[in-house]
């Protein structure tokens, strides 16, 4: 194992009956990085995370945390976990939920410090059942980090959060990573991975499709976007070579193309009054769609 690797799936396969959930998948999370695991529904993200956490045993290959089996409770004392689907005891108050999880760790934060860190200090005495969906996610986030983990697993941490709460979660995650904590993030919000991740892995049908930095992923997609104010109509532009789509929002013409330079040259030649020209590389979302489309079709 790489000495800088904190969690690793090495050629793991997992089947559920006839369904192959993971097919010789290898992933490595490095020390101090934020690693985003992306994939369409049913890609095998949850199975991969479950193997990292020792909830399943792989049928083939191996899963390790800090070089040890995830089944070891001593090694799990170094991780924090936030799961998407866990329903906590509705009868307990927020502080009590965090206090319970803190008791599993050798040197945890106080529940108050964890609540302060995650922006829910005023919710401590509130029964969990009376929280909004977003407040429940914030409570679960506080539970994930109360044990001062070296490695944090976050499954859809900002689902259902308002903009302000999401900003607190993002800021806290960035602070944890800056302090040396490694984070494994699964999310449906690709802008979240784009904003936070050092490295991204895209999986589909249980196999690794691509991995690298966000920029590496974006570079895999040759398509670029052009926007401009012009008298040209989408119908005129759509038949040009290299143009994939052309639409208008009433003010700007928007084009996606595989050869931005050629299209821009032709746009400028066709309209002397063209204004507000912008060219943008593909976003992670487009890279994701393109990468997974072929595999899932």
């Amino acid at each position: 194992m790489d000495s800088q690797c904190v969690a690793e799936l090495s050629g793991v396969s997992k089947r559920f009956g006839k369904i192959v959930a993971l097919d010789e998948l290898s992933l490595a999370v490095r020390n101090g990085e934020l690693f985003a695991l992306l994939g369409p529904n049913g890609a095998g993200k949850t199975t991969a995370i479950s193997l990292f956490l020792g909830l399943y045993q792989p049928d083939g290959g191996s899963a390790t945390l800090f070089g040890c089996s995830p089944q070891s409770i001593d090694v799990r004392r170094r991780i924090g976990v936030m799961m998407q689907e866990a329903a906590l005891a509705p009868e307990l108050r927020v502080r009590e939920q965090i206090d319970l999880v803190a008791s599993y760790y050798p040197d945890p934060l106080s529940p108050e410090a964890a609540m302060e860190l995650t922006g829910i200090a005023e919710l401590g005495r509130r029964p969990y059942a009376k929280l909004s969906g977003g407040q429940k996610r914030q409570t679960q986030f506080a539970m994930a980090l109360v044990g001062r983990p070296s490695l944090l697993f976050l499954d859809e941490p900002t689902a259902g959060l308002d903009v302000q709460a999401r900003e607190i979660v993002w800021t806290t995650i960035r602070r944890l990573v800056a302090d040396g904590c490694s984070v494994v993030l699964t999310t449906h919000y690709l802008e979240e991975a784009e904003a936070l991740a050092d490295r991204v892995a895209v999986i589909a049908r249980g196999r690794l499709i691509a991995s690298g930095t966000v920029d590496d992923m974006r570079a895999l997609v040759v398509r670029k976007r052009i926007a401009c104010r012009t008298s040209l109509t989408p119908e005129q532009v759509r038949c040009w070579p290299d143009v994939q789509t052309a639409t208008t929002d009433g003010q700007s013409l928007r084009i996606t193309t595989t050869n931005a330079e050629n299209v821009v040259r032709r746009l400028l030649a066709a309209d002397d009054d063209l204004q507000d020209l912008e060219i943008e590389r593909a976003r992670l979302a487009e890279a994701f769609t393109e990468l997974t489309q072929e595999v899932t079709q």
Binding site: L55, F66, D74, M83, L92, P106
Partner: protein, 255 residues
């Protein structure tokens, strides 16, 4: 990188068990639908039948006060374990809480130990209410005998916890109350603890832990009882062992 694995002092591990037990008990005490029936019903029904409705008849029959007390005490012992384990474990399994706790460094036995101690606490409270109600049911028992019966009943809640645990690993959250009742209600009526059974069908009671617990409690204070105390204890121990081992094996499967 910091050390690979982190151990915890024995004191903190015990602290984790204590915290789990504290919050498990708080959860149940804060659930009136659970706490009220199990804490108040046994002594309440005992007072209703043993004092209010049939008080005179009970007073005249020398065996009746003890029969009524023992019957309602065993009835009170059965509920917390069967429902506390069965229904709440089924819910925790289905709603992902058990899965989250397994992923976290929770001591593996903590939820079961916490539920067991919660159940023991409830049984202790049930026995306290029964002991307080006993004088109204014309029962004459020494404090030492009361203590002995209470201890036997607290220990005797184990097989009911094991049965509840087994149902909790088997049933969904919605079906668990039905499954528990399917076992709980016939066990009350077919064990002869509340209503004496005709001699022709008394053999049915031999299959019920409630019957064996009542006979063991009677034997513990040298009151007239049926069968051999050691065999009653062995039956209760066997039920506890078989169903808890079976349940723990089921719990080890992925959730």
């Amino acid at each position: 990188m910091s050390p690979t694995a982190v151990s915890m002092t024995q004191r903190r591990v015990l602290g984790a068990y204590a915290t789990e037990t504290k919050y498990e008990s708080l959860r149940m005490l804060r659930t009136p639908a659970f706490a009220c029936p199990f804490l108040l019903l046994p002594a309440g029904l005992y007072l209703l039948f043993g004092a209010l409705l049939f008080g005179d008849a009970v007073a005249k029959d020398p065996n009746m006060p003890l029969f009524m007390f023992m019957g309602f005490a065993v009835f009170g012992v059965m509920g917390p374990g069967m429902f506390g384990f069965g229904v709440s474990l089924a819910m925790e399994r289905e709603q992902g809480l058990l899965r989250l706790k397994r992923a976290l460094p929770m001591p593996p036995a903590a939820p079961l130990v916490a539920k067991l101690l919660m159940s023991a606490l409830f049984v202790l409270l049930v026995m306290a209410t029964m002991v307080a109600a006993a004088p109204f049911g014309h029962l004459k028992m020494s404090p030492a005998q009361m203590l002995l019966v209470s201890l036997v009943n607290i220990a005797g809640s184990l097989p009911f916890c094991a049965l509840g645990l087994f149902i909790g690993t088997l049933a969904s959250a919605k079906s668990a109350p039905a499954f528990v009742n399917l076992l709980y209600l016939p066990m009350i009526y077919l064990s002869g603890i509340l209503i004496p059974m005709p001699a022709s069908v008394k053999w049915i009671a031999l299959g019920s832990p409630a019957y064996h617990l009542e006979q063991l409690a009677l034997a513990s204070i040298w009151a007239p009882h049926e069968g051999v105390p050691a065999l009653h204890a062995a039956f209760l121990a066997a039920v506890t062992l078989v169903f808890s081992v079976w349940a723990v094996r089921r719990l080890k499967r992925p959730v």
